[in-house]
């Protein structure tokens, strides 16, 4: 029977039992759910489960070479989340994380657009509770904005699916034509969740408002689900190359000036998604492998960085660069793990980022897209600046803050150490890692040119940072809000709409007063007129009443007579 359920479904269903279990048993139970769900990966490629509702076939469980790597990493991330959050007694977050990861895993196994839509919305409605769990006024407002945008994305997807269904009679998930209306609608739906330029506001707005463990889960699933969908439906669409290049490029500058370190990581997440989108836009086998490899490695090192910052948040209560510093002596293991994450994301040789990013850069070089290539190379230096150096440096070194704290809880450390080991293992054994990618490749990332070139780029970028810091050119971090594209709907649109609403209110009020006065005049006129003619002065006797009643009965009789003759 379990073969008929898509992987992840058991996690969504099983999450409902979590509130009734005692603390440690809860964690064991969640691990068992993930293991049962992972069993679905052993069933091999093909369509495993289809149900027929209202003459429409829902393909619930379909596996192929693209779903496989995503399913593996989603399961690993879900398990790491369980370990990382094991100290948390709030069952609501565990239910949300378990059902959210389950929904994302089920979504990648959907074979048609309507099934995908159901899981697409499920990821939105389960993840919003993680932002609400932040339990502040800010997180509440951010959660409302988040769910509005996620549901909008779902509506675009549904609209596209329905148009496709009416046109073709089926909505199977396959490559779509970007020039068709349904293609464009679905493209926008995916684009919102992939945080395209100007559609990215929700990402930096909502993720840092979540709890320490919530943000780790959030950073994994939604955006990578969208990357998967792009790889499946829009591989080789040229415009993605330009959108992706823009995505790698502009978040760097925001990340450099942002003070909240978890928000810096969300900008960095946005920038990393750009690399994957560029690779999907190229569409060659090498590039798609690069996108998938990058998504796989990215989930691990970005999760690791969020875990490190989450541990700092859990112990210190803040993630602001302006308030942190010198935590290395209190949290050495967390610091080392965060540094490993930072080295991985910067793509130093022998770490996971290098073996994944090299595939994308080589694919770009092979296609001869020189300008895009240099944009991505520039972005790589930027990644080193804001994620590679800024994150560990301002949290654990920089200036001495007066904070005194202790090492992160043991479960957090275990999760971070496992993620670190995976980051290094992928970097050291790339050939094993490349075997799970969608297409077979014989690619060697470790040659003299690659390694020396990459090391020169990174080390000299690091040297530039050191010079800026050493000669005190680098300005101090300040408590601040950095304006992002969410400013459009949080400030700019209200700036226009609020005066409009006030104006319409004023107009309505004026009209109301006008009509009130007109009616009052009419009332006074008739009252005066009637008093003048002594309408109310007449005595009404019983005889008058009888005459009126007889007349009324006569009228009713006439009415019935007319009505009956009319119907005949």
């Amino acid at each position: 029977m379990i073969d008929n359920f898509p992987p992840g479904f058991v996690m969504v269903l099983g999450a409902l039992l979590i509130p009734f279990l005692p603390h440690i048993i809860k964690q064991i139970y969640m691990m068992i759910l993930i293991l049962i769900s992972a069993y679905g990966l052993t069933l091999g490629f093909g369509i495993h489960s289809v149900i027929n509702i209202m003459e429409f076939e829902f393909i619930l469980f379909q596996a192929d070479n693209l779903t496989f790597p995503f399913a593996i990493i989603f399961h690993i991330a879900a398990a790491l989340n369980v370990i990382y959050g094991a100290h948390e007694k709030d069952w609501k977050q565990h239910v949300a994380i378990m059902s959210y990861s389950g929904a994302a895993i089920a979504a990648i196994h959907a074979g048609d657009l309507l099934t995908l839509f159901v899981w697409w919305e499920a990821t939105a409605f389960t993840s919003v509770f993680l932002i609400l769990a932040g339990n502040t006024n800010r997180s509440y407002k951010a959660a409302i904005r988040y769910i509005l945008i996620q549901v909008t994305s779902g509506m675009f997807l549904l609209a596209g699916a329905i148009i496709l269904l009416v046109n073709d009679g089926s909505a199977i998930l396959t490559k779509f034509d970007i020039n068709s209306l349904y293609g464009q609608l679905i493209f926008i739906a995916f684009g919102i969740k992939a945080a395209f330029p100007l559609l990215n506001g929700w990402l930096q707005d909502a993720y840092p408002e979540s709890t320490a463990i919530g943000t780790v889960a959030l950073s994994t699933f939604t955006t990578k689900l969208s990357i998967f969908c792009f790889a499946k439906c829009f591989a080789g669409v040229e415009i993605l190359i330009f959108i992706g290049a823009l995505m790698t490029f502009y978040p760097i500058f925001f990340a450099v000036i942002e003070n909240d370190l978890r928000r810096v990581l969300t900008y960095s997440l946005n920038n990393q998604l750009g690399f994957m989108i560029v690779a999907i836009g190229i569409g060659s086998e090498l590039a798609i492998n690069g996108a998938v490899a990058h998504a796989f490695a990215h989930i691990l090192y970005k999760g690791l960085l969020f875990m490190g910052m989450g541990a700092v948040l859990y112990r210190v209560g803040t993630c602001k660069a302006s308030e942190l510093g010198g935590l290395f002596k209190y949290m050495p293991i967390t610091a080392v793990c965060t540094i490993i994450g930072a080295i991985s994301i910067s793509a130093f040789p022998l770490f996971s980022g290098f073996v994944a990013k090299s595939l994308i850069m080589s694919a770009l070089g092979k296609e001869g897209l020189v300008f895009i290539y240099f944009m991505l190379l520039f972005a790589s230096a930027g990644v080193l600046h804001h994620s590679g150096i800024k994150i560990p440096f301002f949290a654990f070194f920089a200036h001495e803050s007066k904070i005194k704290t202790k090492e992160a809880p043991i479960n957090m450390i275990i999760a971070m150490v496992i993620a670190s080991i995976l980051c290094i293992a992928i970097g050291i054994f790339p050939s094993v890692f490349y075997q799970i990618l969608p297409y077979e490749i014989s690619y060697q990332p470790y040659d003299f040119s690659h390694v020396v070139g990459q090391l020169q780029l990174l080390m000299f970028a690091a040297l530039a940072f050191i010079c800026l810091w050493h000669f005190k050119i680098y300005p101090p971090e300040l408590n601040s809000t950095v304006l992002n594209s969410d400013w459009i709907y949080r400030r700019m649109i209200p700036l226009f709409i609020i005066p409009c609403i006030n104006f319409s209110k004023k107009i309505t009020n004026e009209i109301k007063i006008f009509f009130y006065l007109v009616l009052l005049r009419i009332k006074i006129f008739f009252a005066n007129y009637m008093i003048k003619n002594k309408v109310f002065d007449r005595e009404v006797g019983q005889d008058t009443l009888i005459i009126i009643q007889v007349f009324a009965i006569f009228l009713i009789f006439l009415f019935f007579l007319h009505y009956t003759s009319f119907t005949r």
Partner: protein
């Protein structure tokens, strides 16, 4: 040597040493890139250093109009 370490600190001196080593390595072996421009001598080194400075410069100049008070949205 010890004066340099004292002046710049251990980690900074190590980075400086690695940079120097990488430049020497390029002279010993033959490095080629994905594009023709990359094949120029010490190109990645220059590119990395300059990129970092440019990112910093643009970032600092963006501060003036993108950076608002912390309670900007709460007001």
């Amino acid at each position: 040597m010890t004066s340099i370490i004292k002046k710049f600190g251990k980690i900074n001196s190590f980075v400086l040493f690695l940079c120097f080593l990488l430049l020497v390595l390029e002279l010993i072996g033959h490095r080629h890139g994905e594009t023709d421009i990359e094949d120029l001598m010490f190109f990645p080194a220059f590119f990395g250093f300059l990129s970092c400075i440019i990112i910093f410069k643009i970032g600092v100049s963006l501060r003036s109009f993108l950076m608002k008070d912390e309670d900007y949205y709460d007001r």
